[in-house]
Symmetry: C2
Subunit: 127 residues, 2 copies
DNA sequence: CTCTTATTAGGAATTGTTATTAATAAGATA
DNA sequence: TATCTTATTAATAACAATTCCTAATAAGAG
């Protein structure tokens, strides 16, 4: 995915180090505020740019729905979604059974959502 | 969740009707553009406000991670997340097996993510 | 019908994020 | 080590998605 060579900088290193030693899934602002304490002239854009680059390079992971705006669903019955990486369409699919025993030590599950990513069959045909 | 009485308006009815008869998971702008054809003086704020209200009332569903900004995870090994509705913390949990046969007719899965929502044990103790 | 107040249109303001630009510095090569 | 190329930076402007604000409107209870 990376189209240009990458250089390591102290800013990028700090961002990466912070994320690799965190377990609380910070957002960009949080990373910025935290690292600004060590590097007072760190820029917000640098944080955003590096977070984008690092997740593009799969060194870190961006959480959440990989779409630019929020989407709404009029169908409230239990079901999941498949998001096509190519055409961007969101498809409904059945609610799969899922084993939750690994979650029980953490808390009580009220709901869960599953997002599948891939290429839909329509787009596959075109390629 | 609704703290004030609700009134039905033709704007809200149109938004709801549109969503209930859609299967393509539109975003706010899409709903706005579509309904503006019938109601030329419909306002964008009205669409946003009603989408928020309707999903608060669980009449429709807002997709994606229920947080205001994007979060990043330095841990790239396969795992899922539990989001506490009370304290907002995001916990890691193991990657569960999931049956994907219902998704196969739609497309080829490359990855998937599972988000569990509930109340963590820390918050349960406090209540 | 009347009254209360939730809801509206319209636009301005805010927020999360990205683009721009000149200056800087990583890392390859000599 | 000195030099060169160019990815990266800080700062800020620009941007797009969303929310807030205000006076006017209209739902629906009495």
């Amino acid at each position: 995915m990376a189209t240009t060579p990458r250089r390591m900088t102290k800013q990028k290193a700090a961002i990466l180090d912070y994320l690799k030693h965190s377990t609380h899934h910070p957002d960009a602002e949080c990373v910025y505020q935290e690292l600004k304490k060590q590097q007072p002239d760190l820029s917000r854009s640098t944080v955003y740019r590096n977070l984008a680059q690092l997740s593009e390079d799969q060194v870190i992971e961006k959480m959440g729905l990989q779409t630019e705006s929020d989407h709404y669903d009029g169908n409230c019955s239990p079901h999941n979604h498949f998001i096509c990486k190519k055409c961007g369409r969101i498809f409904d699919c059945g609610k799969e059974e899922i084993d939750t025993q690994q979650v029980e030590p953490i808390g009580s599950i009220e709901t869960f959502t599953v997002y599948f990513y891939g290429v839909c069959h329509d787009c596959e045909k075109e390629a």
